[in-house]
């Protein structure tokens, strides 16, 4: 699914360190969602972060994934495409049968964490 990739965000580079995948991304401040979230005050919607994590997870597994559960997702720092046009998505997946569990985060690549995420996909 490429609902947001290519329009809301681009993946600049990827790496895999012992089963933990990192995606350097760029956010597009001109995406239509900012017309409404919020008028004159662009804030990246939390659910778009959840969708970016899904789309990056699909790149890891090269197949469509359904979000069957989100056990916990915390929004720690407000992400905006104005203050942060680049970010890093880190995903550690664990596969059990048909289910893929992931622990993920979105950070600025340094000290600031925007999102922490624990969820489950089914292929």
């Amino acid at each position: 699914m490429k609902m947001l990739e290519g329009s809301y965000f681009d993946v600049l580079s990827t790496s895999n360190d012992n089963g933990t995948y990192s995606f350097d991304i760029r956010l597009h401040s001109n995406h239509k969602v900012y017309d409404g979230h919020f008028p004159g005050n662009p804030v990246s919607p939390g659910v778009c972060s959840i969708e970016m994590i899904r789309e990056c997870s699909e790149m890891i597994f090269s197949k469509p994934l359904t979000i069957s559960a989100v056990s916990q997702c915390r929004f720690i720092t407000v992400l905006t495409p104005v203050s942060y046009d680049k970010a890093v998505i880190t995903i550690t997946p664990t596969v059990t049968g048909d289910s893929i569990k992931v622990v993920a985060s979105i950070t600025d690549g340094a000290d600031t964490t925007f999102v922490t995420y624990k969820g489950e996909y089914v292929a």
Binding site: M1, I50, E51, R54, V70
Partner: protein
């Protein structure tokens, strides 16, 4: 508080600061002081539709806005606010997708129930149905 009022169509903008393309609630009423009922008709041009299905982030956003709109509803009914309060999701917990995703033209019906409200943090549980089928359940922490 007065729980008779039903917000729909343009009126919903009195309860939410989100605007198109990410306005994900089109009706809101109160069941009682702690429970609200929100609706959304899924149009084909909804930004969270993909291959004719309303996707999971759309469901989570709809639930978050249902909760946020109900917080504004209560504040307006109690006379402590004139307009929509700005709400942010602090945390999503125990989201569960139950079976198939909703389709274009389906009407979502979401019950949001306030579990606790301390300072500006409100904890909700929510259940979204299409007709009588439960599509998703979720808990959420909202900062207003």
């Amino acid at each position: 508080m007065d729980i008779q009022k039903i917000y729909k169509d343009e009126d919903i903008k009195k309860l939410l600061n989100q605007r198109n393309p990410i306005l994900m609630v089109d009706s809101l009423s109160a069941v009682d002081d702690l429970n609200g009922l929100a609706g959304l008709t899924i149009h084909a041009d909804n930004m969270f539709c993909y291959n004719g299905k309303f996707t999971e982030p759309g469901l989570i956003e709809h639930i978050a806005q249902s909760a946020s709109a109900f917080v504004s509803y209560r504040a307006i009914a109690e006379g402590t606010a004139d307009n929509a309060l700005l709400g942010f999701i602090g945390e999503v917990k125990k989201f569960k997708l139950c079976g198939e995703l909703p389709s274009v033209n389906d009407i979502l019906s979401t019950t949001v129930s306030i579990q606790s409200s301390v300072m500006n943090i409100t904890m909700f549980s929510a259940e979204t149905k299409v007709n009588d089928r439960v599509v998703a359940t979720c808990q959420m922490k909202l900062s207003v």
